[in-house]
Symmetry: C2
Subunit: 406 residues, 2 copies
């Protein structure tokens, strides 16, 4: 009887621990599976031999596994480590030696497009070397940019958080009887999936946010100022939502208009700051109260607005991955299929990981309104079911939610 190992990879979401919960619970209930291990910090930790005995640690360690479903982030920790394209790289031998040592027969990996690259490579290597390990990917990202799936677990909760928080920001922006522009910057380097959800914040037709700009459309600062001016015709307070990755017709990021491109210590270009630049632009043109708000990391790690639909689908994807593993479906990634529209129903499907890895799905251009500063009804129909349902979460004595931690 072989053991199962599971890892988490890439940026956190509100529900990636729900997928971990689903996969582990299903494995625990399957006679075909021996012990259940977790990699600390994904493949990077595995390479260092940092492996947790989940059964021992949580089931028998006094932990409450159910808490995973209301704990954001990554219980096991993640990494962004990319395996070499060269199969002669020592990483591969090292990884499979450790898998052999722990008698692993099933390898599950929760992650997005880049993490699926790891699943694909390990699966290919195993096949080439006739190693009997099953590899299955579990989809995860707030960005909703994986292909071959209707949507991705993590997106619904991020969408709900953004919709709710923008509605609150609008309420805040409207308390004074003073003309103002509030610019909310949302995550999304290449794609406007997250920013588009701010349209859900409207309480009635014509409500704020009045303007929504995604990276899938060209952003023209002069047109933007005209859009704002038009909004002032029937609004005192104008709230604008922008993706961090909006850019002009030449592809230059608006965040770079304010000065030189900045880089983080890993050499990755920092892309945030467009709201700050637009704030300056608006203030100079209209001389009104202006505020830039960068929503920042809470949009990917808040559980306060977790979508029950999203949580349940995340659990379902984890459960399904274990089921596929037992049925020896290797090199696969779980997908979500929208089976019915009204009432909404989704079920799990299965795709080849080599089709999904390293791909990216952009926001459909036909869901951007003609004027380029809004989204269409069709998008609202798509997103609304994904944010339904509400979670009441366990509170600690201090009055704030209890999180499970290693």
């Amino acid at each position: 009887m072989k053991n199962l190992i599971i890892g988490q990879s890439g940026g956190p979401t509100s529900v990636m621990n729900s997928s971990l919960y689903g996969a582990v619970m299903e494995a625990f209930n399957q006679d075909e599976i021996g012990n259940i291990y977790g990699m600390e910090n994904g493949i990077q930790g595995l390479l260092k031999g940092k492996i947790i005995d989940i059964v021992d640690k949580i089931f028998f360690g006094g932990g409450n596994l159910e808490l995973l479903m209301t704990t954001p982030g990554a219980y096991l920790g993640t990494s962004k480590y990319k395996l070499s394209d060269d199969f002669n790289h020592p990483d591969y031998e090292k990884i499979f030696k450790i898998l052999e040592e722990y008698e692993i027969g099933y390898f599950l990996y929760i992650g997005g497009n880049h993490s699926m690259d790891t699943v694909e490579k390990l699966n290919r290597y195993a096949k080439m070397h006739d190693i009997d390990v099953i590899f299955v990917g579990i989809p995860k990202t707030i960005d909703n940019n994986m292909i071959e799936t209707d949507h991705v677990p993590g997106y619904g909760s991020a969408a709900k958080y953004i919709a709710n928080t923008v509605r609150e920001i609008v309420t805040d922006a409207c308390v004074y009887d003073v003309s103002s522009v509030t610019i909310v910057e949302l995550m999304g380097r290449m794609s406007g999936w997250l920013t588009a959800t701010s349209a859900l914040a409207r309480k009635f037709k014509g409500d704020n946010p009045a303007l929504i700009y995604l990276p899938e459309a060209v952003f023209d600062p002069e047109e933007f100022l005209k859009d704002v001016e038009r909004c002032f015709e029937d609004k005192t307070q104008v709230v604008v939502c922008v993706s961090e990755g909006i850019h002009d017709k030449d592809g230059k990021l608006i965040s770079e208009y304010g000065g030189e491109a900045e880089y983080d210590i890993l050499g990755q270009r920092l892309i945030s700051g467009c709201a700050k630049y637009l704030e300056k632009l608006v203030k100079e043109r209209f001389h009104v109260k202006t505020r830039a708000i960068e929503m920042n990391v809470p949009q990917r790690c808040s559980v306060s607005m977790m979508s029950k639909t999203d949580q349940q689908e995340a659990v379902m994807c984890g459960t399904y991955a274990t089921k596929l593993a037992i049925r020896r479906m290797t090199g696969k990634v779980v997908s979500l299929v929208r089976v019915m529209e009204d009432p909404y129903l989704a079920s799990c499907g299965m795709e080849n990981v080599e089709d999904v890895a390293n791909q990216s799905k952009r926001f459909p251009v036909e869901w951007i309104s003609e004027n380029g500063c809004d989204v269409t009804e069709d998008f609202l129909k798509y997103i609304t079911p994904l944010i339904q349902g509400y979670i009441v979460f366990p509170m600690s004595n201090e009055g704030i939610p209890t999180f499970l931690y290693r």
Copy 2:
């Protein structure tokens, strides 16, 4: 039979509409009170004759008054308008003419230290001119800086939001096995009441946030870097919480270290940005992944983490204000008195508005730990009861909370 008018003033909170609800419901049930009016945008709107018939608008207008209790911001709108110190200013005659026209006998005003200045002046003017109107203030602020009260409605919910969000940010900061410093900037120009609540985010002793800095202590950038270095001895990820108003021993704001002081269009000095400056400082010194997060307006307008205790006390203060008004207690402001510690119990008291107006209560220095970068157990004992209890709020069809709006 005289009518009642109520207004909201100053910055929004999560529960200032709960106080409105309490005051209006009590007034509706009192035979001594005729109609109930609301000022749009406080005293500024009143001066323009912008008055809403609340009974007509909400009770009989199909609105659901209960929704006020889960709607953040200010249903009536607020203003920061300051009445003149000179009673010959035309504003006074104008205001009392309008009050006479609407046959107002009771004037309730929900606000903080500066808004109580309005209550105090109007009350004094009425007494001088023998005008029969009762003036009562209802306390409100996220800053908890009003004197003569144990705490202020609005603070508990802001505290709960901060504690929860910082806990989430810590979870997010810890997903990668990479050294990092995350600096969270919280509201508080003069006082650390809000920033102090981030200590509640810790899941265990020694957990992040590892460092907490308030404006009540002098901030020394070099000492700060030493504090961070010490944290790295037993932590891979360090989360720091700072008030926007931290300053050096000469009183210079840390936010101004990065460049010139900025001003908004009303000439008010912009005080945010210290986290951005500290991010630069840390990156240069430690060459680690560094992120500045400005929590921004959600800390004062989010309902997702509303404290039930705070909400109920806000309702109670509103209710009590109407009761005081009927009992002809003019020139008063409602206070909260902590009657019992364990189990916690608070009741309403009454203070003279001239004692409270324009005063400000700072965070007690004895609640700052000796090393200057943490808060004491005594503060945690004080704050913990104020964030207890959880609200399940009504959701719209779109899956996000329903707000009541004018």
